[in-house]
Symmetry: C2
Subunit: 203 residues, 2 copies
């Protein structure tokens, strides 16, 4: 039975690093950006378009789960979004079937949750705003000049996009602790150490 760890994360929480280090320590496959590459390879959509849809940067429709009559344009756009979500679900299920792995974001926790053939462990990583801000600014200053205020806006916006995408497709609430096996607050922790400790859960 494959072990699959899904890591959902607030922007700037270090969740991606935690996921990567967990995968390294356990020798598991690691899927993050690879999910988008796979979707692009199996559909006609561009990488940019798939990314935009998955981060909810382009459209904010009526939730897909609510039946309604849409104009032609809306229908077409929604069809595309559903196409992408379908491709995403297929890709994630294949990854989980292939080997032990760590999957970052992309509703993988929800997509895999009723699969009896895998051992699923769903982690959500979050942090206090000042901690996320500090981490983001540290990474950003290498390549761009962004103020603290702008970065805070970006953090809120990205997380809003992730929450909208997740909530629309899953009938669950992004970040609500009941939907995860463990929520890790990264505000006061060393990510590498935490990854080492958590890896024991899967040995």
């Amino acid at each position: 039975m494959n072990k699959v760890i899904t890591v959902s994360r607030e922007f700037g929480s270090g969740g991606r690093e935690l996921a990567r280090r967990l995968a390294e320590k356990l020798g598991y496959a690691y899927y993050d950006k690879e999910i988008i590459d796979d979707i692009v390879a199996h559909t006609d959509y561009s990488e940019k378009y798939v990314e935009d849809i998955m981060e909810n940067r382009t459209y904010r429709f009526y939730p897909i789960k609510i039946g309604a009559t849409f104009s032609m344009d809306n229908d077409y756009a929604i069809k595309q979004m559903q196409d992408i979500y379908g491709a995403q679900a297929t890709v994630i299920k294949q990854m989980a079937e292939r080997s032990n792995c760590v999957i970052v974001g992309r509703c993988a926790d929800y997509i895999l949750k009723d699969n009896p053939d895998i051992f699923l462990f769903r982690i959500f990583v979050h942090a206090a705003m000042e901690s996320k801000l500090a981490r983001c600014l540290k990474h950003a200053t290498k390549t761009e000049n962004v103020s603290e205020k702008e970065m805070k806006k970006r953090i809120i916006k990205v997380d809003k996009g992730r929450a909208n995408y997740y909530n629309d497709y899953t009938l669950q609430t992004w970040g609500e602790k009941e939907y995860y096996d463990m929520c890790v607050n990264s505000t006061n922790i060393n990510i590498e150490e935490m990854a080492g400790h958590l890896s024991h859960l899967f040995m």
Copy 2:
């Protein structure tokens, strides 16, 4: 620097067992009911009264933190509650200063949160209702005859009392993930195994 693990928990989540096993595995002191014993030893209140106050079974006032004019009776009762909270805070701080320890409930996470002399790790244990119900019924049937419906009501009532007590005194929200370092969903886990894994966080 003493390591102090606080374990807050939903009723029936197995949080107390997790706390006890963590303490055992780490060789830490374990404080649960002992907190009440200590308060009783240092005040004039009975064990029953202290327990009732701390589980919010007797009164539900205006929040202590909101200033207001009360009748004499209310004033007196609030004075008693504040007395007990004060004693609780003193006892918990002494426990944390004494040695490495695991403390169950009683707002210990909040009481200790700004203490620079300890390493504090705040855990919240929660579970799906059906899981809590199964655990409670398993324990209850040994001594009492209680229906599933009654037990569900009891679980909701106990947790409401804990939340009220915590929220009134701490200006935080009981069970909100941002106030804890880790939230553990015990629905699908073996408590003993999880305690073993988590103990690595403190070694």
